[in-house]
Symmetry: C2
Subunit: 216 residues, 2 copies
């Protein structure tokens, strides 16, 4: 299975490339192909030091979409609309959104678009044959890249298509100690996305770092 | 410290009475005093079997408010407005809301009132000198009464007054293995309340029961 990462040179994107490329063919996308190639080189070196093999290719965001079976949108909420406006070819793809619309004042709040969630907004921007799936929303960005540490968290997955949901849950369960949970249809993604500002508040007000969540 | 439970004869209220009365003076309130007295008798017997002492008193909801330092609103969201409309005397009290506005269709959604959350709505209904604090929102109702089981969960606490917040967090930390986390001001309670429909969806779609949450 080929996993394309749009925004694959950002913090979360690079961390996802590190965690996923030992198990899947990972296609790292960037606005500038040269940056994607550089990120892949860095990831390969990091994984080699750990004695791990990987499958990585650095390309443009557009090619990452074109080549992949599953496309992960590893971009901040504010970049979603401008990025999707430059890309085509999402027909028949599974599109994974870990995107959380968050605002910060003296604390963090959930600030969804009029569609109700980033996930529903993204669904509205893509062709009907694309299947949007919310996943990986609540994992601290820093943790993705810390290969020495297990990702021991629960991951809520929302999607309207059972087949696509199962595929994404399988990917989740293949990353470190992540455990995927079916959290219902895509319309329920808002209450998954909104856990992230809660975790950021917990971290901020209790002097903690990189707080994650487990369903127990 | 005296803890009054408005709605103390409901499932969560009775469970809270069981868990809190070995450590605090608990005043169980009900619309009908006779029901509150009966609940206290049942709780006393249950705790006696476990060899535990307790301090319990069954009264009306109004007297539970009047006598308590901390008042817990252990009532469903739909009962909040009619119940608060019948009660007075909240001046200078700490009022704890574990209330979650939830709707159910084929899945559970967060359905807050125009104020943004049950917590903010409750704050608007009470006198200014009352201090509203959101806590205990994400604990499965059934678990409160299962004394054989530890409550091994995280509890997010939102409040605008640091002193009141510390008092409530201390109460939380005195119940089983609950661990309190400062989750910011009361305005941030919406993203605490909305975790509950997520946990209900996780339970429903993964054939689990009484799912709770831990911040890790």
């Amino acid at each position: 299975m080929k996993i394309g990462i749009v925004g694959g040179t950002g913090d979360i994107g690079e961390g996802m490339a590190l965690r996923l490329s030992p198990k899947y063919d990972v296609i790292v996308g960037s606005r500038e192909e040269v940056k994607a190639v550089a990120t892949c080189d860095t990831c390969r070196e990091t994984l080699q030091v750990q004695g791990m093999e990987c499958s990585l290719m650095g390309v443009t965001n557009q090619r990452a979409v074109d080549e992949a079976d599953i496309v992960v949108l590893a971009i901040p909420f504010k970049h979603v609309t401008p990025t999707l406006n430059t890309l085509t070819g999402f027909e028949e793809k599974i599109v994974v959104t870990p995107v959380n619309p968050i605002e910060r004042t003296t604390y963090f709040t959930y600030a969804p678009p009029p569609e109700g969630s980033a996930a529903m907004m993204i669904k509205g921007m893509l062709p009907e044959s694309a299947t949007v799936c919310a996943a990986f929303n609540n994992i601290a960005a820093n943790k993705w890249k810390m290969l020495d540490e297990e990702l021991d968290y629960s991951v809520a997955v929302c999607c309207d298509d059972d087949g696509a949901k199962q595929k994404v849950m399988e990917v989740v369960n293949n990353v470190s100690r992540l455990r995927a949970y079916d959290a219902g249809p895509l319309a329920a993604a808002s209450i998954v996305e909104s856990v992230t500002p809660l975790l950021l508040n917990i971290a901020r007000f209790n002097k903690m770092r990189d707080v994650g969540v487990k369903f127990v």
